[in-house]
């Protein structure tokens, strides 16, 4: 089971990196004569209403979801860890203020926060990724702060201060690296969560523009053919579930 999660992620990363290795079909240009065909050996995931190969669209779409999730995790990880590091090491009023602001962020559901950011930034792939990332800042900050507070109390940090280390020096050289373990595990989990959130926002129509094969958008487009063509919605969704499940398992493993 363990290798399966890694295999799923590796496969999707390869899809994003060299899509032409997995499919010879064009994700944007369709063959009208072959429209709405069921999955077959020629078209693994079938074809859509304008005769485009759905598997090709899913493969070429992986780069949208993966890069979006990477941006989202980077925003959450960088901002959150920075805030957590500052709060956990400076303590006092700064700690109180930063963490209360994080409490407020946590009191608004992630999707609503993302929608607020989208009203602010406007729709689009990058903006959606940033919006999803902002939603995860509070979780990262909380975890990073807890870790920093734990590590700061250890003997080796005291020793590093005692042997003449400067505040910033000890922080960067000892506290930060030793606090990162759980934060990395959270990143893996957030990667899956971000893929889920990005596909949701794509489905609602705030992400990529229509001809682009983004996973959430693919499912939204397939909605019009629910009665006749089950594969248009079912198969791209199954891919999303597989990737999110794999990210969750990997996060559990490295924790």
């Amino acid at each position: 089971m363990r290798w399966l999660s890694w295999a799923v992620i590796a496969l999707v990363v390869l899809w994003a990196a060299v899509p032409s290795l997995f499919t010879g079909y064009d994700p944007l240009a369709g063959v009208p004569a072959e429209k709405l065909q069921e999955p077959s050996a020629a078209h693994l995931f079938g074809t859509d209403a304008v005769g485009r190969d759905l598997f090709a669209r899913v493969v070429h779409g992986s780069v949208q979801s993966l890069s979006g999730a990477l941006v989202a995790v980077a925003v959450g990880l960088l901002l959150g860890t920075l805030l957590g590091l500052i709060a956990g090491s400076v303590r006092g009023v700064v700690d109180e203020t930063v963490m209360r602001i994080m409490d407020v962020l946590l009191s608004v559901p992630g999707l609503l926060l993302a929608l607020t950011m989208i009203i602010l930034l406007g729709p689009g792939t990058v903006n959606v990724a940033i919006a999803v990332g902002v939603g995860s800042v509070a979780s990262f900050a909380r975890l990073a702060r807890a870790e920093v507070v734990r590590v700061r109390r250890t003997d080796y940090v005291e020793a590093a201060f005692g042997s003449g280390g400067t505040f910033a020096g000890v922080l960067v050289r000892h506290v930060l690296p030793n606090s990162l373990g759980p934060v990395i595990a959270l990143s893996a989990l957030q990667f899956g969560v971000a893929i889920l959130a990005i596909s949701t926002l794509g489905f609602l129509g705030y992400g990529a523009e229509p001809p682009t094969p983004e996973w959430g958008l693919l499912i939204a487009e397939g909605r019009n053919y629910l009665a006749t063509s089950w594969w248009l919605t079912t198969l791209p969704g199954a891919v999303v579930v597989a990737v999110v499940l794999a990210a969750g398992r990997i996060s559990k493993e490295i924790r």
């Binding site: 407020v104 609503l112 609602l204 629910l226 079912t234």
Partner: protein
């Protein structure tokens, strides 16, 4: 006790005020002025004076005025339709409340089923404990579409349009409940396991109590508090989840209103929805804190 409650209520109010302020600042920072975009359209043929008048109508006079308005239940006017935001919220609230309440009850039932089921059976345990991880990885919008496909188009059990109220409600409730049941099930299963390792369990068993008696009479009570905390935390997700659910099933409600507000850059409506979600979150978690000492008398002292 009273002091503790007052302190918690004070904190709750503070969080609420901060959430309002943060959302207000964010939504005011909007680069594209939604009112100007809407009314400067030459087809409307409005003079600059008229536009200034319209602005005054919407821009309720800054932060302080808006806060006072919210406190009086006046949430301003929708930029999209011009109707008072309160009216639009009141229109959607009953539908969403119905959906969310049913979904929450179902989510708790599912969680109890998964957690206690895994505590009973040896063979199914691994399988049951894998269910929450699956539930949490399923995009809600996809689940809704899948349910429509299976139950409406394949099995023809639920009509796509029309049908009784129960028929209209059952699939959306399931869609909303599944992702929310996952964290509740995870925490409940974990705390049941933890309570089962405590020494009083073999003592009760030695007295001749059956497995069911131990689980429902003794373990359940002790496993409840952590579960209640998570249940409170995920309650806020019901409003967010209704955005997706109501869109997929074409139902009216707060979620649909939110989606329309984002599309129309209707900031007053979104501000009200965010404040509503934060209020629900804060109030539910306050209730959980109040309930804690009732459930566990050790905490009351």
């Amino acid at each position: 006790m009273t002091k503790y409650l007052l302190k918690r209520a004070g904190q709750a109010l503070l969080v609420l005020w901060a959430a309002f302020t943060a959302a207000y600042i964010l939504l005011q920072a909007l680069p594209g002025d939604s009112i100007l975009i809407k009314f400067q359209n030459p087809e409307l043929g409005l003079s600059p004076e008229q536009i200034a008048e319209i602005r005054e109508y919407y821009d309720a006079g800054g932060y302080l005025h808006t806060v006072l308005g919210f406190l009086h239940g006046d949430f301003g006017y929708s930029v999209d339709t011009g109707a008072p935001v309160v009216e639009r919220l009141a229109e959607g609230l009953p539908e969403t409340a119905k959906l969310a309440t049913c979904a929450f009850v179902l989510a708790v039932l599912l969680a109890v089923l998964i957690a206690f089921g895994s505590a009973y059976s040896g063979r199914l345990r691994g399988l049951l404990l894998a269910v929450p991880a699956l539930f949490i990885s399923v995009p809600a919008f996809w689940l809704g579409i899948l349910l429509i496909q299976i139950f409406s188009f394949r099995l023809r059990l639920v009509p796509v349009i029309g049908g009784t109220e129960l028929q209209q409600l059952v699939l959306p409730v399931l869609t909303l409940a599944v992702p929310i049941s996952a964290p509740i099930a995870q925490v409940l299963a974990r705390s049941i396991d933890q309570v089962l390792t405590q020494p009083f369990v073999p003592v009760v068993a030695a007295k001749g109590a059956s497995r069911s008696w131990i689980l429902w009479r003794h373990v359940a009570r002790n496993a409840l508090p952590p579960t209640l905390t998570v249940a409170g935390l995920v309650f806020g997700e019901l409003i967010a989840g209704s955005v997706v659910t109501e869109t997929v099933f074409g139902r009216g409600g707060i979620g649909r209103l939110t989606e329309q507000a984002v599309n129309a850059q209707d900031t007053p409506v979104l501000l009200a929805v965010v404040v509503l979600a934060a209020t629900v979150f804060v109030v539910v978690n306050l209730l959980v804190d109040v309930l804690f000492p009732v459930l566990d008398p050790r905490l009351a002292t």
